[in-house]
């Protein structure tokens, strides 16, 4: 094992190198671009034995990924923002065809107005596609989660694709020290992909991506729901196995000082690092506050969340996305599934910094609520 200083994009590329996918169709887009560059270089330098398909769009990137995964090999692709929106249609097809692709999404705002900076609207807009979505907080978690994503997605009980979501620029372009696992340990953790449900081999012809009428469509979609639900258990098991080999522990959620907290912040991604510092600062002032980081957004870990928030009075959900007339997506899901007093806050859209002051504002507004949903850090003229 070596330790190097790198961006989350590099960490993802390192994970991909270790996971040994055989086909990598990628199209560059800010702030995912360096992933596409690192992987091209790895292939050029024979560090990965893969076909790097220089596609002409993200739509073709995901389409080629489905074709290659359908043919029976391990596949990786990555994108961001508009690119993920362009993939939208085929994301659903990928999940429905049950191809275990792993995709890294460098979370970025959606146009218009055009904006290249971070929020999470892009992946949230794909939440019902049937993909597992894991949001990561730092470069190490980006690397580790990418490796674990393959193991979960390729599990015969799951066979749904995974999206590793990492905050654009905040993670993709910021360097941190990262432990890079050795190949031998990764091979032990992640054996080669051997598809049984679908592959393309003239010796064993099968038809993939078929037409299903009302007699079958509902069951096909329901099967996906069953697999998605089951994935909670598989994610946890995979995290445990990963911890045993590599020593780093992960789960569906990550509670921080929630046990005796009156108010718990709930958020996803890099924002959790800031929130953890704020929790400590507020605790020093005698405030009983905690943080629940959601790693798995799909599947939605209701039970794990309930366990973490059972003792609190109120919950403050901070979303870097927005559903018109509703509030943030995570807030809305929490309201549906968690029986607590919950307030939603919209922040960090299009790369606006979520400052300690903004978090304090959310905290105060949870203590003395005025609205269910509040946009924080809004400029008044």
């Amino acid at each position: 094992m070596v330790k190097e200083v790198m961006t989350s994009n590099k960490a993802v590329a390192e994970a991909v190198r270790l996971a040994k996918p055989q086909v990598i169709p990628v199209y560059p887009i800010t702030p995912q671009t360096t992933i596409s560059e690192y992987l091209a270089q790895y292939v050029a330098d024979e560090k990965i034995d893969a076909k790097y398909v220089k596609v002409e769009s993200e739509h073709s990137a995901i389409s080629a990924a489905v074709g290659a995964s359908g043919a029976g090999v391990r596949v990786f692709t990555a994108t961001s923002s508009q690119g993920l929106m362009l993939m939208h249609e085929i994301l659903y097809a990928a999940a429905g065809m049950r191809v275990p692709i792993v995709l890294a999404d460098a979370n970025r705002a959606i146009s218009a107005p055009l904006n290249i900076w971070n929020d999470q609207q892009d992946s949230i807009a794909q939440r019902d596609a049937g993909w597992l979505q894991i949001y990561v907080e730092n470069a190490q978690e980006a690397l580790d989660t990418t490796l674990m994503a393959y193991k979960v997605s390729e599990n015969p009980d799951i066979l749904l694709p995974s999206m590793v979501c990492l905050d654009g620029f905040i993670l993709t372009h910021t360097v941190e020290p990262v432990e890079i696992p050795d190949q031998e340990s990764v091979d032990k953790f992640l054996p080669p992909y051997v598809p049984e449900h679908a592959f393309l081999d003239p010796n064993e012809p099968m038809s993939i991506g078929n037409f299903a009428d009302p007699n079958y469509y509902t069951e096909a979609r329901h099967d996906m729901d069953v697999a998605m639900t089951k994935s909670m258990e598989v994610i946890q098991k995979t995290c445990d196995e990963f911890a045993e080999i590599f020593g780093r522990k992960y789960g569906l959620v990550e509670p921080y000082k929630t046990e005796d907290a009156d108010i718990i912040f709930v958020a996803m991604g890099s924002l959790c690092s800031t929130l953890r510092v704020m929790v400590d600062q507020l605790r020093e002032k005698g405030e009983k506050v905690g943080l629940l980081k959601i790693r798995a957004y799909r599947p939605f870990p209701t039970e794990a969340i309930n366990e973490a928030v059972k003792n609190c009075e109120k919950i403050a959900v901070i979303d870097k996305n927005f559903s018109f007339g509703i509030g943030g997506a995570l807030y809305a899901d929490m309201k549906v599934k968690i029986d607590k007093e919950i307030y939603g806050f919209i922040a960090g859209l299009g790369g606006r910094d979520i400052t300690p002051e903004a978090i304090l504002e959310a905290y105060e507004k949870t203590k003395a609520p005025e609205n269910d949903v509040t946009w924080i850090g809004l400029k008044e003229e």
Binding site: K51, S57, G70, G72
Partner: protein
């Protein structure tokens, strides 16, 4: 022509009686043989051959969506080659809509990247699966449900997009036109394309009984009329060498072709004359 013991496109498919698309695919698969993986765009072909839990495909088959069969084939081809399966034929089928319109970008990318694959456009000159709407491949004067004849309209008012030449402009090693009415010529081209290293494109005219409005027994006759009138020209461009592969002994007037189809029935002499001039110019340009 070699007749196989068993066709690689099984019967029982839901194609219309007299369906030209199934003839197109049957002949191509039989020519390519079992060591083939097929990709299809959404369209008549996909819908009629894979209603779960039944498939007509005797070779491995994958469909993903309408506009991406070029890219899906790219992924399939890459996966096969990285596994050392260099001898497996990769063939993608798309209708004219899935090829010249919505799938153009995906196909262009696949051709430009040099994947060792064959793409066959089965061109029935409109969106037949959705009920005969015009596509970029619909010929001048054809009445479709979205280019209908009317008091202020004579049908489609633009000539057909010249897709084979667009493909040829990609500099790929093999481009050909073909017709289901000339199976020996078509099969020869499919085999040649399969032997070609790199991307190959065949643009196959496929008369459609339902969309063109002719009796189901006339599917082949209609394809023959198209070629005999010069409305569809059979040629190949093999590594840059252009050659006409079939020359009608005497070119018949286009009226013989137009008057037998419902989609052209409304055309007056003036429009027929215009189409004749257009066909004459095209034939002259290609040396027919």
């Amino acid at each position: 022509m070699d007749i196989p013991d068993k066709d690689l496109l099984a019967p029982g498919h839901r194609g219309c009686a007299g369906c030209g698309a199934s003839i197109a695919v049957k002949l191509a698969l039989n020519a390519l043989g079992k060591n083939t993986v097929a990709i299809s765009a959404t369209g008549c072909l996909e819908v009629m051959t894979t209603p779960y839990p039944e498939t007509s495909w005797e070779v491995p088959f994958i469909h993903v969506a309408f506009e991406n069969s070029g890219a899906v084939a790219s992924g399939v081809e890459s996966a096969l080659r990285i596994q050392g399966k260099d001898d497996v034929n990769v063939v993608a089928f798309g209708g004219d809509g899935g090829t010249v319109d919505i799938g153009l970008q995906s196909l262009s990318g696949a051709m430009e990247r040099g994947h060792n694959m064959l793409y066959i456009c089965y061109d029935n000159e409109a969106y037949m699966n959705t009920g005969i709407q015009r596509s970029g491949a619909t010929p001048y004067g054809a009445s479709t449900t979205t280019s209908p004849k009317g008091t202020a309209s004579f049908g489609e008012d633009k000539p057909k997009k010249n897709m084979p030449m667009i493909m040829a402009a990609h500099g790929i090693p093999y481009v050909a036109t073909a017709s289901i009415a000339y199976p020996e010529d078509y099969v020869k081209k499919v085999k040649k394309a399969a032997e070609t290293k790199g991307p190959a494109y065949i643009h196959l005219q496929q008369p459609c009984t339902t969309g063109w409005g002719f009796p189901s027994e006339k599917t082949i006759e209609m394809g023959r009329l198209a070629v005999e009138t010069g409305s569809w020209i059979l040629y190949e461009i093999d590594h840059g060498n252009f050659e006409i592969t079939f020359r009608p002994e005497e070119r018949r007037p286009v009226k013989d072709y137009l008057s037998t189809q419902k989609r052209f029935k409304h055309l007056d002499e003036e429009h027929i004359e215009k189409i004749q001039k257009y066909v004459d110019a095209e034939c002259k340009e290609l040396g027919l």
